[in-house]
């Protein structure tokens, strides 16, 4: 064999050597059993949400006044609510809303927050001052109150929840990113990039931002349950999703009158919120541990 070039390196060795940062992180994550439990719960909820029409036996909107507040039974595994609607189907459809409400505002708020944080931290000066004071104002407001004010102004409804939560959430992401950028911009590789003639915008986007990703991944997994809970609270307070949409928060809200007479109407949707939020927190903690070598740096 002409022992030159890559062909002389055994294939297995090559693949092992090539394992990048994310592969290492994933394998470390896999060893964390709590995090994996969280991951499986989220995966299961996601599958249920995607295939909701195939899984649920009943129409979540079908009212049957003769079957009000039934106990869990073979026909209605989780019982029925005050209008005789099947609780299981409503919770399954509610998973769609909760996941969307967790994921979409997290994406938007972290996207905006990253852009603001990188700009602010890298450019410094007046721009930094102004952007950070705006962020301070947003953070200083009680976030649920701020979200409620936005919901009142824009009107209830799912898309407005996305807007309200994104608006409330970006400032924290901006702070996290900015603090990282402040130390990153002093790193040798930023100076090296400048010495190579890289443009300022490209340094921010290609050299600095990727270094913030590990902490943003963690922040993302912690933002999702926060937003799921915030949506539940908003819907519970009546400014979020509107009936008859089966949002989990709304299910709890509508069931609260029957908390003593038919506790399952509150307990199951409440339990679903709890379970999903907990699962995301487990995953977030697991990711933080798995990414630790990069976060510490």
């Amino acid at each position: 064999m002409a022992g030159k070039g890559r062909n002389c390196v055994p294939r297995a060795l090559r693949q092992k050597v090539r394992a990048g940062l994310w592969q290492e992180t994933i394998s470390r994550f896999g060893e964390n059993s709590m995090a994996m439990v969280g991951f499986y719960v989220i995966a299961a909820v996601a599958i249920v949400a995607i295939f909701a029409p195939l899984i649920s036996f009943h129409d979540p909107y079908e009212i049957n006044l003769r079957q009000r507040l039934l106990l869990p039974s073979g026909a209605h595994i989780l019982g029925t609510d005050a209008f005789g609607r099947d609780m299981l189907s409503r919770i399954i459809y509610g998973a769609r809303i909760s996941l969307l409400v967790g994921l979409i505002p997290s994406f938007i708020s972290i996207g905006i927050g990253s852009a603001v944080g990188v700009t602010s931290g890298y450019l410094g000066g007046k721009i930094d001052f102004i952007l950070m004071r705006v962020a301070d104002i947003v953070i200083a407001f009680p976030s649920l109150l701020l979200a409620m004010v936005i919901m009142y102004t824009l009107g209830a409804g799912l898309s407005n929840i996305f807007i309200a939560l994104s608006f409330v959430g970006w400032a924290e992401a901006a702070r996290v990113v900015r603090s990282q950028v402040l130390s990153l911009r002093e790193q040798g590789f930023v100076e090296a990039a400048k010495a190579m003639g890289v443009r300022r915008r490209a340094i921010m986007a290609r050299h600095i931002f990727p270094n913030c990703l590990p902490s943003l991944v963690v922040l993302f997994t912690l933002k999702v349950p926060e937003f799921i809970l915030a949506e539940a609270s908003l819907s519970f307070l009546g400014v979020g999703a509107q009936p008859p949409v089966p949002s989990w928060g709304l299910l709890v809200s509508q069931g609260k009158e029957f908390i003593f007479s038919a506790p399952w109407v509150v307990a199951f949707p409440g339990g679903a919120i709890f379970l999903v939020a907990l699962a995301f927190n487990f995953v977030g903690d697991g990711l933080r541990e798995a990414l630790d070598p990069y976060l510490k740096r």
Partner: protein, 326 residues
């Protein structure tokens, strides 16, 4: 006579700090010939790196080049707009830093970083840049470059990282390479490899090198000409051989004496007493007088000018008064 590639004249760099103005570089002049290797030697904090950063236009918000000129191919770099300067950096003038592991971005693959200047300056597509970068990685002595391309900096050793940095700096075939302590962070055996690599690359690419170091050994290996810097000024200039054989300035003598030598049996390493003066409050007269063993009364009050001994020997010390003054 060779042509001057870059000519630094009366360069002064100030850093504005809370404690006061730091006069990091205070009237430095030197040339680098086309294809030549010039050393800039001195202790930490003598203004070597500030000189380099000033040439690159990378002093940052706290630093400012307050006077002087840096003529590169006839153009004064200090008068260029940031955009024009950006087009020179990485293409015409490149820089290699001390800590390769710090100068490589940990979350981007090494190859991607090596290829980046090609995309920026020559507008090469991803595929072309990749091929060229792999060639360059091979040229700097990285084995199995094609698969190393996709690896991350933490999978590289310090020496390999510095090779990659050199590949990145030289990929657009610049006319001038500024190497700021390129071997300081490396093992001695690796140092020798990097030095010989720089040597051979310089010949092949016909580029000039400005080598910044505190290590006279590295200077002796690589350079044609050496500038000895102390507290923001150049105190001695000459051919490497001349300066080594017959150091003139007391500071240069001290530096050379304080190098450990295998031949001579020494109990103790010789040192230059005292420390580099604060660049905020420089001593009156000659900057070196508080540490100088030949100090005279005059050194306390008057700053020595540059005396020229012959065509290629300059020294900034009163001991050489009476010889030709520049």
């Amino acid at each position: 006579m060779m042509q001057k590639l870059i000519s630094v004249e009366g360069l002064a760099v100030r850093f504005f700090t809370r404690k006061g103005t730091v006069r990091a570089v205070d009237g430095v002049s030197f040339d680098v010939d086309d294809g030549g290797i010039v050393g800039l030697v001195g202790e930490s904090g003598c203004g070597k790196s500030a000189t380099a950063l000033s040439i690159m236009g990378l002093l940052g918000p706290a630093g400012e080049t307050t006077s002087g000129s840096i003529r590169f191919k006839g153009e004064d770099l200090l008068r260029l707009s940031p955009k024009e300067m950006r087009q020179i950096r990485g293409k015409e003038i490149s820089m290699v830093f001390q800590e390769p592991m710090n100068a490589l971005n940990p979350v981007r693959s090494v190859g991607e970083q090596v290829a980046e200047p090609l995309k920026i300056h020559l507008g090469l597509s991803g595929g072309e840049a990749r091929l060229r970068a792999i060639e360059m990685l091979e040229e700097v002595g990285i084995p199995d470059a094609a698969s190393r391309y996709d690896q991350y900096p933490h999978q590289f050793s310090g020496g390999m990282g510095q090779r990659a940095m050199i590949a990145m700096a030289l990929i657009c075939e610049p006319k001038l390479l500024i190497a700021d302590e390129p071997t300081t962070a490396l093992d001695v055996t690796i140092q020798a490899q990097i030095i010989s690599l720089l040597h051979s690359l310089r010949e092949r690419l016909h580029m000039a090198v400005l080598l910044i170091t505190h290590d006279f050994g590295v200077v002796a290996e690589l350079c044609d000409v050496v500038n000895v810097m102390y507290a923001g000024v150049i105190v001695e200039w000459g051919n490497v051989v001349d300066v080594f054989d017959d150091p003139l300035h007391p500071y240069t003598r001290g530096l050379l004496r304080s190098m450990p030598r295998a031949k001579r049996r020494q109990r103790k390493l010789e040192v230059i007493g005292g420390a580099v003066p604060s660049l905020i409050e420089l001593p009156q007269g000659c900057r070196f007088h508080p540490r100088c063993e030949y100090v005279t009364k005059r050194c306390f009050s008057e700053e020595p000018p540059v005396f020229q001994l012959n065509d290629d020997r300059l020294v900034r010390c009163w001991l050489f008064e009476g010889r030709m003054k520049l």
